[in-house]
Amino acid sequence: MTNLDTKEALDIRAIFPLVWRCWPYYRPQLKHILTYIGCTILIGALFFSFWFVADDLIQNKIGVGEPLQPLQAQLLMLDKSYLTGDDESKRLSDSQRKQVRAKVVILTLTFVFVVFIGSSPLNYYQVWIFQRVNQKLRVEMLSKAEHLSLKHHSFSRTGDAMYRIYQDSATITNVLQWLVTMPLRVMGVIIIGCITLIFFSAWFALPIFFSIILSGYVMRKLLPVIRQKSRQSREYNSDLTSRIQENLAAVRVIKASGAEDIMISRFKKESQNALDAAFEMRFYNSVLLLLSILIGMGSFIIAEYFMATWAITEKATSLGGIVALVGYATWNIGAYQTASRQGEQTCLQAWELSHIFSVAQDLTVGLKRAFHLLDLEPEVTEPSQPKIFPVSIQSIQFESVYFNYQKDNPVLAGIDLSATVGSVTAIVGGTGSGKSTLMSLLLRLYDPDHGNILVNGINLKEMSRETIKSNVAIALQQNVLFALSISDNIRYGRDDLSEKDVHNAAKIACADGFIADMPEGFSTELGERGGKLSTGQRQRLSIARAVLRDTPILILDEPTASLDAETEQRVMKNLAIWGRDRIVFIITHRLSTIRSADQIAFLDKGKIVEAGTHNQLMAQLGPYSDFVTAEVGNTPTETNYE
C-alpha cells in the first residue's frame, strides 16, 4: 500500500521537538492562553455537571415522578414534601411534577443564556490569540527569507517561500489545540467517562480497553501513509504557487512567445497533481476515521445491550448510594440514559484520538516545512563585534578575491583592484565576465570564497551588513521598481529623507523632467514592477534612488544603457560633480562613459587583465584597445567619434 521513503518517515516522537520549537511563539501569549484554557475548562465543567443533574431531574423526577434528593430540592428551592421522607415508594403528584418542571425550565434557560452568551466571546478570544502566534512566525519567516543570501534565492523559487510563509506557517496555530489541549481534553473525557462507567459497572472497562487497543493498531498501520500524502499535498501546492507566480511574473514573455496554451496546460497538470494528493490524503484519513468509528461505536452498542438488560432486571449499580445528588443506586431509566450517554461519549473518543493523530501528521509536515526556512543558515554571517564604517572614506581594495555560484564554475578568479576617494572607476569587460558579481561583493550580498575586500584597510566581513548597506548605494542593472508612488520608490528604504531630498536626487538623475509630466508628479503610483515607465525612465529612477542615499560609495551598473546620448551626457556630468568626495564604480559598455573615468578595470574570465586610464590602456595595445577598436573600428568614417 505504501512506498514510503523511510528516511522521510518521522515517527510520532518527532512531534515533541517540533512542539517545543513552537514554544517561543506561544510564550508571549501565555497569559492569554492560560486565561482561555481556564475559562474553557470552567465552562465545560459547568455544562457537564449541569447535564448530569438535569438528566436525572428530567427523566426520573419529572418523567416518572420519583421524589427529589435533598440537595436537588435545595437547588430548586422546593420544600420537604418533594423529598422521599420515610416512604420508599412515594411518588410526586402531577402538580408537584409540573412545579419541578417549571423550576427546571427556568433554571435551564437562565443557565444556557448566561453561560452560553458569556462564553461565546471566548471563541473570538481564541482566534485572536492564535493569530498573534501565527503573525509572529510569519513575520519572522519572511524577514528570515529576505535576509538569506542571494545565492540561496538564485536557486529557490519565490512561490515555494510564499507557500511556506503563508500556508505552512499557519499550522502553528493548530499546535496548541491539536497537540496539547485536544489530547488533554480527550484524555480527560476518557478518564471521567471510564470512572463514571466503572461506577455503574466494572464490566465496562472491558469494551473501553478493547477499543483502545484495536484503534491503536489501526493507527499504526495508516498514519505513515497519511503523513506521506500530506507532505505530497503540501509540496504539490507549493509547486503550484510557484508556477502561478512565475507565469504571472513572466507573462509578457509568455504572450510574446504565444505560449499561453502551453502554460495553461502545465498549470492544469500541476493543479491536478495537487488535487490528487489532497484527495488521497483525505481518503486515507476517512478510512482511518471510519475504522475507529466502527471499533468505538461497535463496542459501545454492545455495551448498551447490557445496560438495557440490566435496567430490566434493576441490577444494582456499582455506584450504590454514594452520591447523594443523583438517584442511580440501581439500574433505572435515568441510570441507563446517563450511562449510555457517558459510554457513547467515551467510545467516540477513540474516533477523536485517531482524528487528532491524523491531523498531527499534517501538522508535523507543515511545521517542518515552516521551520526549514527558519533553519537555513545565511551564508553571509554577521560578525559578533561589528566594526563601524570609516567616517571619511579613503580607499577600497580587493585582494585576490575568488567567488563562484556553482562549484567548478568560477565567476571571479583572483581579483586585485584598488580605488581611492574622488575617483571614478569604470569596470569594463565582456558579458559574463563577472562585473556585476564583483560589485555585489562590495555590498556584501555575498562573501568572497577566498580573499578580502577592505575599506580603509578594514575587512568588509568585520562590518555588519546593515552598516555596509547604509554606506554603499547601487543603481541596479535590472531596474526594480515597487508598486509604490514615484517618490516612495526613490526614497525606498530611507523613509527618513524629505521630499526635498527626493526632488534633488531626481534632478541629478535628470528624472525630474518626465516625473513632472506624469499625471500626479512625484505621487504618481507605479504599476506592477513599474510597468508604466519606459526603460530609460526606470533607469533614471534607479540612479536617483542611489544618489538619494548620499553614501560614500556609489555603484552604477550599466546606468545609462537605455538613455539617449543627450540625457546620458547630462546625467554623467551631474554625477561627476556630485561624486567629488566619494568613490564611484560604473559598470558600462559605453565608450563615452568609460573614457571619462579616472581608472578603467578591464575584466575577462573573472580576472582583471588590465587597469589604468583610457590613454594608458590604449597605448598598451592590449585587450582593452582591442575592445575599443571593436566598438569603433567598424566606423572609420567617424574618427571624430573616437
Binding site: L109, L142, K255
Partner: protein
Amino acid sequence: MNNSKVYDDRVDTDSEIDLRQVLTLISRSFGFVKGVKGLFICKLLMALVSILPALAVPWILKIIVDQVIMQQPFNTAEVPFPPFMMPFINMIHDLSPPEIMFSVTALFLIALILFGLRAPAAEQAQEIAQAKGFDAATQSEQALSSGGSNTSGLWGLLELSLSIRMTQRLGNALRARLMGRLTHLEMTTLDEQRIGDSIYRVMYDAPLMPEIIYRIAINPLLLIITAALSIYLLQFSYGEVTPELVWLAASLIPLTLLVTAPFSALARRIHQKNRASGATTTNRMEESLDNIAAVQALGGLDKESVRFEKSSEESFWRHRLTVALDLILIVIRTCATWIVMAIGFILITDDVIDGTLSLGDYAVLSGMMFMLSENAAAIGLYWIELQKNVAAVRRVFFFIDYTTETDGEYRSIKPIKKRIHLKDVSYSYPDGRVALKQVNLELTLDNLVAVVGPTGAGKTTLAYLLPGFIRPSEGEIFFDDQKFSQLNTKDIRQQVTYVFQEHMLLSSSIRENLLLSNPDATVNEMIEACRISGAMEFIDLLPDGIDTPVGKGGDTLSVGQKQRLSIARGLLRGTPVVVLDEPTAALDPKTERKMMAALKESSKSRLMVIIAHRLSTIREADQIVFLEEGRIVEVGEHDALMAKPNGRYRRFVELQAVQ
C-alpha cells in the same frame, strides 16, 4: 466590450454587492455544474438516501426506553410508529424485552457498518481533516478539497470520496479558466495588475466556488427534505396527541431565517474586505521575495518586514471580524431556538405527566426537536456563509469578465509576405497620456529596421503595436492587405515575435525555456537560433549544455547571457516579423558586432525591427525610424540621414559621439 471598467487592485473598495449581483454570481457558478453532471447527480442521489437512516434513530431509542427498560407492550394505537418502522416492529412484536434489545443491537451494528449510524457524520470529520490557520487564505485551500456526507460507514466513505472529487473538479475548472484569462489580459491591464493579488484570486478565491453549489443546491434541499420528513413523521405519530408541538417544530426554520437574514448584507461587506486585505498581504510578500536582490541592495529589509507585518496584521483583523459576526449570529439564533425548545419541553412533559406520552416518546420528540433546530440553524447560516463565497467568487469573475485580447470577432490571418503598413496610427494610454501621434510608416519583409529616439519618444509603444500587445487608438495597421483591427491577437502573434528587454526566464532548463516559444522545435533549430543570438558561445561552456537548469528567473546567468537566450527563444519561433527591444544593450562591442552580423543575415528573409540606442547597432540597419515625442521625424538609411545638415537624427548621433 466594456473597457471603462474601473477597479482598484489593491483594495476592492467597492464592497457593496446588491442582491441581483449575488443571484447573478450564483447562477454563473451553476454554469460550471455542466462539467460535472454525472458526479452531481450521483452525489444528490446518495445524499438523499443518506438522510434516511438518521430519521429512524429516535424511534429505535424509543423502543429501548419503552419496550426494553420500562417493559411496556407496544402501543401503536395511540402513538403509531411511522410506516418504515413497521417491518421491524412486526419482527420484534412478540419478543421478550431482552430479546428485543438483542435485535435492536444487531440492527444498530448493521446500520453502523453501512451508514455509520449514531457516529459523527463524515462531513463533520472532513471539516477539520487538515490543519488550517486562522485567516481566509489557509482556510480556502481546504475548501478546494472539501466534501461530505450526512452518514458515515461505507456509504459515507463512498459519498465523501465522490463529493471531494466533484468539489475539486468544479474548483479546478474555475481556477484554470481564471488563469487562462489572466494570461490573456491586455498588456496595459497587466502593467497595473499586482501578481500577489492574482495569486490570491487563483489559489484562494476560486476554491470557494464549489461551496456555492453545495450551499445553494444540495445542502438546503437535503435540509428541507429532512425537515419536511421529520415534521411529517411528527404529524403522523403525534399529530393527534400534541398538534401544538408539530406546529412549534414547523416554526423553527422560518424563525431562524427571520432572525439571521438581516445580517447578510453586512456579512458580504465584511467578507469582501477580508479577502481584499488577504490579497494585499500576499502581494507584499510576493513583491519583496521576487525582488529580493533590490530589497537587499537598497537596505529595504526592515521596510519590507514592516510593510508585511502591517498588512498581515490587517488581514488577521479582517478575519477576526468575520468570526465576530458568526458569533453574534450564533448567539441570536441559539437564544431564539432555545426559547422554542423550552416551550416544546413544557408541551411534551405536560403530556408525559398526564400519561398521554411515554418516556420513550419524550426521547423521540426531544430528539426530533433537537434535529429540527440544528437544521434550522444550518439553513439560516447557509445564506450568511454564502456571502463569503459570493465575495470570493466575485473577485474571480471580475477577471474572467475583464476584457482580454481574445475577445471579439476576428477573422484568421494569412501569413505576412511583403510588408507592414501603419496608416495614421495614434495611441494614447488609458490614463490619457498620448504616446504616438499620427504615425505613417511602411516596413518591408527583407529589412533590418532600427527604431531610434530619445527616451520617452514612443519607441516601445510603436514596437508594442506590431505583436498586438496594444491596439491603435486611431488609424489602422495593414499586414499586406489585411486590416490589423480585424485580426485575432493570437493569430497576429503567430506572425510577429517580440523579444523583451527584461529577460524573463523560467526556472527550468535552457532547453525548456527555448521550447516555450516553439514546442515542436528540433535540437538543430534550437542550436541555429542560439548561434544567431550568440548564446551558443556560453551554452557550450555549461556543464550540461542546453539541459543546464537556470535558477529563479534565470538568476544564475549574467544579464548579457540571459539577453542572448531570450533572443534565441524569440528567433526560434521562425515568424516573418521579429521585434527586438534593445537586443545589444548589455553586450560588449565584440559580441554585439557578431550578433548584429548574424541578425542582419537572418533579416534577409524577414522583417527585423530593433529598438536601439547604440550607434554601432543602429548603423547596421537598412532603415532607421527616428522618433521624437510620439512622432516620426525622419526615416532613412544612416548615411542618408547623416547627410542632412540640420537633421534631427544627425544631431542625435553627434551628441552621442562627441564628448
